[in-house]
C-alpha cells in the first residue's frame, strides 16, 4: 500500500478514477461501450478520441519541459497546420483522392516542423527565454493561420482526410490509434535510447551537461522541433475531427491544458526528470474532466470554479508535502510511533571512547578539564 501511495502515478490515477466514478454516479451508463457496425460507441471512446490531439501536444510539451523550457505556441501550430492542410485540400482538384490528402498532411507537417525549428532556433541559438520565444509564434502563428484561411473557417469534404480522425480500425477511431502509436513510439525512442537521460541532464544542469560533452543545444533544438511537429499532427487530427479549419479557435488554450496534463502527470516545470506515463494519465484526467462538466450538468457560470477545485485538489494531493505526510502516516501505522535508531556496527580495531561524563554545568568555563575526555 505504502509503495503504491509513493508511486508517481498514484494520485493522477486516483484523480482519474474519482472523475470516472463521479460520472458513473451521475450517469450509470457512462462506462457502457456498445458495439455496432464495427465501431465501438460510448463515452470512454469519445473521451479517448477527444484526448488524442492533447496527448500528442502534451507529449511534445513534456519533452520541452524536461529541458527547462516551455512551448506556448502549440495552439497556434495546431491552427496553422489545420489551416494549411484544409486549404490545400479545398483548392485541390480532387479533395477525395488519397494522394491529395497525403500531400496536404505532408505539407502541414513540414510547415509545423519548420515552426518547431524556428522556436528551437530562438531558444538555442539566440538564447531567448522559451516563454517569450514561443510567445512570438503564439501571437504571429495564429495570424499566419488566418492569413491562410482569409479569416474564414475553411471547410472541406474529403473522406480520406476525415478518416484520419474518425476512421475506425478494430473498433477504435483512427485518432486514438495514431496518437497512442506515436506516443508509444516517442516513449520508446526516448527511453530505450540515451536521449531521455541526456535530455534530463540538459534540463537539470545545462552547464554541467555541456562540459560532459552532451550536445545540449542540438537536443534542445530537436525537442522544440519535435514539439512543433507533434502539435502539427494534432492540428491535423483536430481539423479532421470537424472537417473545418478554424484559425481563430483551433487549439486555443491547448497549451494550458497540455502543461496542466504534464504537471498532473508529475513532471516538474523546473525541468529535468520527466514522466511520460504520467503525462498520459494527465491527459486522460483533463479529457475526462472536460466531459464531466457536461455530464454533471454544471452550469457554465461555475464551470471555471469547478475546474479550479479539481486542479487544486489533484495538485495538493500530489504535492510532496502531502505525499510525505501520507507516507509517514503509513510508516507509523506499520512500525509504531518510535522511529528506529540504527546502531552502527563499527568493526574498528580501536576502542570507541564515548565521553562518559556530563557536559560541564557552567558555561563560562573556557575549556573542559582534561579528565572529562576519556582518551
Amino acid at each position: 500500500m505504502r509503495q503504491a501511495v509513493r508511486h508517481h502515478l498514484f494520485w493522477p490515477v486516483v484523480a482519474l478514477v474519482a472523475l470516472v466514478v463521479a460520472n458513473t454516479v451521475a450517469r450509470p451508463s457512462f462506462l457502457a461501450v456498445s458495439f455496432a457496425d464495427g465501431h465501438l460507441f460510448g463515452a470512454p471512446v469519445d473521451i479517448l478520441r477527444a484526448a488524442a490531439p492533447l496527448l500528442l501536444i502534451a507529449l511534445g510539451m513534456t519533452l520541452v519541459i524536461a529541458t527547462r523550457g516551455i512551448d506556448l505556441s502549440v495552439g497556434a501550430v495546431v491552427a496553422v497546420s489545420g489551416a494549411v492542410a484544409l486549404e490545400y485540400i479545398s483548392t485541390s482538384a480532387n479533395p477525395e483522392s488519397p494522394g491529395t490528402v497525403f500531400a496536404a498532411v505532408a505539407i502541414a507537417l513540414v510547415l509545423s516542423l519548420v515552426l518547431g525549428l524556428w522556436n528551437g532556433f530562438l531558444v538555442t541559438v539566440l538564447g531567448i527565454q522559451p516563454i517569450i520565444a514561443t510567445l512570438i509564434l503564439m501571437t504571429a502563428g495564429r495570424g499566419v493561420a488566418m492569413l491562410i484561411t482569409g479569416g474564414f473557417i475553411t471547410t472541406v469534404n474529403s473522406a480520406p482526410y476525415k478518416g484520419l480522425n474518425s476512421g475506425y480500425l478494430l473498433g477504435l477511431p483512427a485518432a486514438v490509434w495514431i496518437s497512442v502509436a506515436i506516443f508509444a513510439l516517442v516513449a520508446v525512442a526516448v527511453r530505450r535510447t540515451a536521449l531521455g537521460m541526456l535530455l534530463e541532464a540538459t534540463g537539470i544542469n545545462p552547464a554541467a551537461s555541456r562540459l560532459a560533452g552532451v550536445r545540449s543545444r542540438t537536443i534542445t533544438w530537436t525537442v522544440y522541433t519535435a514539439c512543433g511537429l507533434l502539435a502539427g499532427l494534432a492540428g491535423i487530427l483536430v481539423s479532421a475531427d470537424t472537417m473545418a479549419a478554424d484559425a481563430n479557435n483551433a487549439g486555443i488554450f491547448v497549451e494550458l491544458d497540455a502543461i496542466l496534463a504534464v504537471v498532473i502527470g508529475g513532471t516538474a516545470l523546473s525541468g529535468g526528470k520527466f514522466n511520460l506515463s504520467g503525462t498520459f494519465v494527465g491527459v486522460l484526467v483533463i479529457a475526462t474532466l472536460d466531459r464531466t462538466v457536461t455530464v454533471l450538468g454544471i452550469s457554465p457560470h461555475v464551470t471555471p470554479l469547478f475546474m479550479a477545485l479539481v486542479v487544486v485538489v489533484v495538485t495538493l494531493l500530489q504535492s510532496p508535502r502531502v505525499r510525505e505526510r501520507f507516507a509517514v502516516a503509513a510508516l507509523r501505522r506499520r512500525t509504531g510511533t518510535a522511529t528506529p535508531v540504527v546502531v552502527p556496527d563499527d568493526g574498528a580495531a580501536a576502542p570507541v571512547p564515548v565521553p562518559a561524563d556530563a557536559a560541564p554545568s557552567s558555561s563560562d568555563e573556557n575549556l573542559p578539564d582534561e579528565k572529562e575526555v576519556v582518551r
Partner: protein, 331 residues
C-alpha cells in the same frame, strides 16, 4: 595635457561603462526609443504629447499588473491569475457600487479580495509545494469563475464619487495624467523602494538567486515567497481598480490573457524568468513597449486582423532580438 593623462583616461574608460545588471533595461530603453522615433518618421501625429500620454493612460492597469508580476518572477515564480483577478476586482467594484456601498469600502474589499487570492497562492506554493504555474492557473480559473457567479454581464459604474476619482486629470505641460496613471506610477515607485531599500525586497532577489542558498543564509524564505504572491494579487486587484476607472465598468471577461501581456512586459523589461535579476522600472518600460507596438499598429491603420497579429509577433521578435544583441555586445 601629457601622454600620461591620456593613458589614465583610456584606462579609466571601462569604469564608465554601464553596470552589467542594467544592460537589459538600457537595451529595452534604447529599442523603445528607436521604435518611437521610427514611428514618428512614419506618421505625423505620432510623436505628440497626446500619444505619449495615452501610452500611460491606456496601460496604467497593465503597469500595476507588471509591477506585481515582477516580484513573483524575481523569486523565480509565475502568476497566471492576474488577468482574472483584475476582472474579479472590476466585477466586485461594479457590483458593490451598484448595491450602493460607499466607494472607499468597495475599493478596500476589491483589493483585499486580490490579496486573499494571492495569499491562497502563496500558501499552496510554499506550504504544499505546488508548482506556481499550476497553483496560479487554478487561481485563474477560480477568479474567473467567481466573476461569472457574481455577474456574468457587464455592469456599468454610475457611482458619482468613483467617477469623480476616475475622471480626475491634470496637465503637466502638454502631457495629460489621469488618476489611474498617478496611482500606477506611485505603485511602481513604491515597488522600486520596497525592492531596493527593504530587507523584504532584497530577500526577494536572494530567493530568486537561489532559494536553498537564501534559506541557508537564514533569510525568511517561506514568508517572502508567500508575500510575493500576496503582492502580486494585490497589484492585480489594484490593476482591476485602475481598469474599472479606465472603463467605468466591471466585466467578467475583461483581462482575458492579460497575464501573458504582463509576463511579456516583465521579460521585455529585462527580468529573467529564472529569477534573481531584473528591475521593476524595466517592467514599466516593458509595458510601454507593448503599448507602443499597439499604437504603431493602430497608426498603420490598414492592417487586416491577421496582419495585426503577425506584425505584433514580428515587432516582439525584433524587439527581443535587438535587446539580446545589445546586451550580448557589451558583456
Amino acid at each position: 595635457m601629457t601622454a600620461t593623462t591620456a593613458g589614465t583616461v583610456a584606462r579609466r574608460a571601462p569604469s564608465f561603462r554601464l553596470d552589467r545588471r542594467y544592460l537589459p533595461v538600457a537595451g529595452t530603453f534604447v529599442v523603445l526609443a528607436l521604435m518611437l522615433v521610427i514611428g514618428g518618421t512614419r506618421h505625423e501625429n505620432f510623436l505628440t504629447p497626446t500619444v505619449f500620454s495615452n501610452l500611460f493612460i491606456n496601460n496604467a492597469h497593465l503597469i500595476a499588473l507588471a509591477v506585481g508580476m515582477t516580484f513573483v518572477i524575481l523569486t523565480g515564480g509565475i502568476d497566471l491569475s492576474v488577468g482574472s483577478v483584475l476582472a474579479l476586482s472590476t466585477v466586485i467594484i461594479a457590483s458593490l457600487l451598484q448595491a450602493g456601498l460607499p466607494t472607499g469600502v468597495v475599493l478596500v474589499v476589491a483589493v483585499l479580495a486580490g490579496a486573499l487570492i494571492g495569499l491562497a497562492h502563496g500558501v499552496m506554493i510554499q506550504g504544499f509545494g505546488v508548482q506556481p504555474f499550476v497553483a496560479t492557473l487554478a487561481g485563474m480559473f477560480f477568479a474567473r469563475g467567481l466573476c461569472f457567479v457574481i455577474a456574468p454581464e457587464s455592469i456599468s459604474i454610475g457611482d458619482a464619487s468613483f467617477k469623480a476619482i476616475a475622471g480626475w486629470d491634470s496637465w503637466i505641460g502638454y502631457f495629460r495624467v489621469t488618476m489611474a496613471v498617478v496611482i500606477a506610477l506611485v505603485v511602481a515607485g513604491i515597488a522600486f523602494v520596497v525592492l531596493h531599500y527593504t530587507r523584504f525586497g532584497r530577500t526577494v532577489y536572494a530567493v530568486g538567486g537561489g532559494e536553498q542558498s537564501a534559506l541557508l543564509m537564514g533569510l525568511p524564505v517561506a514568508r517572502t515567497k508567500v508575500l510575493v504572491y500576496v503582492v502580486s494579487g494585490t497589484c492585480a486587484a489594484l490593476g482591476g481598480v485602475l481598469f474599472a476607472m479606465f472603463s467605468s465598468s466591471g466585466y467578467a471577461l475583461s483581462g482575458v490573457a492579460m497575464e501573458l501581456d504582463a509576463i511579456a512586459a516583465v521579460v521585455i523589461g529585462g527580468t529573467l524568468l529564472t529569477g534573481g535579476t531584473g528591475f521593476v522600472l524595466g517592467s514599466v518600460l516593458g509595458v510601454l513597449t507593448l503599448g507602443a507596438i499597439q499604437t504603431i499598429i493602430q497608426f498603420e491603420g490598414n492592417l487586416s486582423s491577421w496582419w495585426t497579429k503577425i506584425v505584433i509577433g514580428v515587432l516582439l521578435l525584433v524587439f527581443v532580438v535587438l535587446q539580446r544583441v545589445l546586451t550580448l555586445r557589451k558583456t
